[in-house]
Amino acid sequence: MSERQKEIKDGLDRWRETRGRMADRDCRFETVSSLPVNDLYTPLDLTDFDYMRDLGFPGDYPYTRGVQGNMYRGRLWTMRQFAGFATASDSNRRYKYLLEKGQTGLSVAFDMPTIMGYDSDHPRALGEVGRVGVAIDSLQDMETLFDGIPLDQVSTSMTINAPASIIWCMYIATGEKQGVPSEKLTGTIQNDILKEYIAQKSWIFPPEPSMRLITDIFAYACRHVPKWNTVSISGYHIREAGSTAAQELAFTLADGFAYVEAGIAAGLDVDEFAPRLSFFFNAHIDFFEEIAKYRAARRIWARRMKEKYGAKNPKSWLLRFHTQTAGCSLTAQQPENNIVRTAYEAMGAVLGGTQSLHTNSMDEVLALPTEKAVQIALRTQQILAHETGVANVIDPLAGSYYVEALTSKMEAEAERYFEEIEKRGGVLAAIDQNFFQQEIADAAYHYQRAIDSRQRIQVGVNEFVNPGETVDIEILKIDPQIEKDQVARLQKLRRERDNIRVRETLDALRRACAGTENAIPRILDCVRAYATEGEMIQVMREVFGEYKEKPTF
C-alpha cells in the first residue's frame, strides 16, 4: 500500500468511527437486484483499476467509455419507439405519423400469431390477431405495412425470433417490389432464439435447428444484405422475466458468444458476421447499477471477441446496443408515475452509452399505448437530449469510485456465470438443464417476496397508495372486426395466388431444411410465391420438430 493509500485508509477509518455512531434508516441498502452496496466508495475500492487497461478512450478498445469517438456530440441516439398494431394498413399509418413527429427509425411489433408462426385463420390465433402488434401472414401484408415508405430511406427493427428468417425474407422481397436491392437495406431482426428458451418463451423449433437457421441468415446476410443487423442479442426479456442485472448481463453475453461459436462452427470467418451482431438491453430503475451494466458489457465483449475468438476487425469488438426502459418496473397503480420512472431509466441508458432507445408509455402496463402516451414517451427522450445536458459530455460518470467499482463488480459476476455455463457444457446444455430458467425464476420469486413483505418499496403499490384509486386514463381497444377482416384477406389470397407454384416452392424448402443447403434462398422463393408464414412454418415444423418447455418454478 502506498503512502497516499495509507493516508486515505486512516481517514476512512476515522470517518467510519464517527459515522458508526449515526443511525441508518431502517431499510436494506442494496440495488434492485439485491446486490448490497457500501455507504461510501473511495480510491481504495479501485486499487486494481488501470485507466488505460480498463477504460481507455471513447471509440477505443476496450470501449468501456463508448463505441464511438464522439458519442452523442456527433449524433444523438436513435429514438426508436416500438409500435405496431392491428392490420398492416393501420400500422402503416402509425409509422407515417411517427416519422412525421421526428422519429428516426421504425420498430415493428408483431402480433402473437405471427410471432408463434400461425396464420391469422389458425384456431390458435383466435382472439389474438392484431392485439399486441401487427398481423403479417404473407408478403402481401408486408407490402401494405411499408406502402409509401421507401425501404432505402428508413432503418427498420423487427422484433421477431422463431420465424425471423421468414419475416426477414418478406422484408427483402418488399424491397425488391419497391426496386430497392437487398444490399441497400438497413435494419435489425431480433432473431435471438436462445433468450426465447431462457426467458421469453416464444419458441417453435428445438434449439439445434433454430441455431442452424440463424447461421443460414449470417451466411446469406454477409453476401447479400451486408448492412443488416442479423441478431439483436437480447437481455431485455431476460430482465423482464425477473432476472437480476448481473444475470441479464451474463446470460445475454453468453448467448452472444454462443452465436459467435455457431457462426465459426458453420465455417464463417468471425470478422464476416460479428460486426453485424447487436445487443438489446433493459433499462431498469436502479440508476447506477444499470450504467455499470452497460459499461461492463462493452468491456467484456471487446475483450472476449479479441482475445478468445481472435476477431481482428475492430468492428467485431464493438458492442452496440438498443435499450428499452423496463416494462416490469411500471405499475398499474397511479400509472402517471410511470412517466417519471421511464425518464430516470432513459437517463441511465443514455449515460450508459446506448445507440438507440425506446421509452415505454405510461399505460403499457394496462394495454397498448394510446397516441398521447406514445407522444409523452417520445418527448421524454427529446427533453433528455436537448434540455438536460447529459448528451454534452461523453461517459460523464467515468472515474466515479462507485460507478467504476460497480462496473468491475458486474464484470466479475458475469465471469462467474460464464464459468458455471462452461462447466455445464455451454449455453445449449445449460438450457437443457434448465439452469438459466431456474436462476431467473428464483430471482423473480425473491423480488416478489421482498415487495410483498415491504422490504422493498414500490410507490403506489405497497406504500404511498391512494386508497380507492380508480384509473382514469384512456385505454386503446382493438376492434374484434380486425381479426375477421384479416382472415378474409388471407383466405382471398389463398384462392387467388398460383397454388401450384406455392406447392413447389414449399417442397423445395422442405428439401433444404432436411438437408444442409442454406434455407434462406428457398424461403425467399416461397415468400415471392405468396406462401403464408404458417405454411412455411408448418413445413419446417415437420422437418425440425417442435420444442417443449420443461417445468421450472
Binding site: 402473437m112 400469431p113 410471432i115 408463434m116 400461425y118 384456431p123 390458435r124 390465433a125 383466435l126 382472439g127 389474438e128 392485439r131 399486441v132 426465447e196 421469453q200 418463451k201 416464444s202 423482464e240 422475466a241 425477473g242 416490469c328 405499475t331 398499474a332 397503480q333 402496463v365 394496462l366 394495454a367 397498448l368 425464476a441 423473480a444 420469486y445 416478489q448 417476496r449 415487495i451 410483498d452 414500490q458 403499490v461 405497497n462 380508480t470 384509473v471 385505454i475 382493438i478 418447455e549 417445468p551 421450472t552 418454478f553
Partner: protein, 132 residues
C-alpha cells in the same frame, strides 16, 4: 383425512409471459397447496380438461395477451358443458378496470387480481373461498 387445496395454474394464449404464473404457482405451493401447472399456450379446452382430471378446487388463469374477454367466458362455458361449474375460476394479468367489472358481473371470473396484488392476499382469498 388430509384434505389439500388443489389449484390449476394455467397460461392460456400465445404469449410467453409466465413470470407471474410461475411466481404465483410457487407462492401457493409455499402456502401448502398442490399446484398443477399446465405450461404455456393452453387452449380453453385444455385448461378445462386438465382441471377436471386433476379435480382441482380453483383454476387460476394468467392472461397478458389481451384476450381475456374471449378466454374467461369460453372457459366458463366449457366448465358448464362438463358439469364442472363448481370449480372456481380466478385470474390475473393486464385487464382494464371496466373489463374486470364486466367479467365479474357476467359470472365469468370469481375474482381477478390486478398487478401488484401481494401473494398473501391471493393465498388468503383461496383459503377463505375453498371449503376444506
Amino acid at each position: 383425512m388430509s384434505r389439500k387445496i388443489r389449484v390449476l395454474v394455467a397460461k392460456p394464449g400465445l404469449d410467453g409471459h409466465d413470470r407471474g404464473a410461475r411466481v404465483i404457482a410457487r407462492g401457493l405451493r409455499d402456502a401448502g397447496m398442490e399446484v398443477i401447472y399446465t405450461g404455456l399456450h393452453q387452449t380453453p379446452e385444455q385448461v378445462v380438461e386438465a382441471a377436471i382430471q386433476e379435480d382441482v378446487d380453483v383454476i387460476g388463469l394468467s392472461i397478458l395477451s389481451g384476450a381475456h374477454m374471449t378466454l374467461f367466458p369460453r372457459i366458463c362455458e366449457l366448465l358448464k358443458e362438463n358439469n364442472a361449474e363448481d370449480i372456481m375460476v380466478v385470474g390475473g394479468g393486464t385487464i382494464p378496470e371496466d373489463e374486470i367489472k364486466a367479467l365479474k358481473e357476467g359470472g365469468w371470473a370469481k375474482e381477478l387480481f390486478t398487478p401488484g396484488t401481494p401473494l398473501e392476499k391471493i393465498v388468503e382469498w383461496i383459503q377463505e373461498n375453498v371449503r376444506v
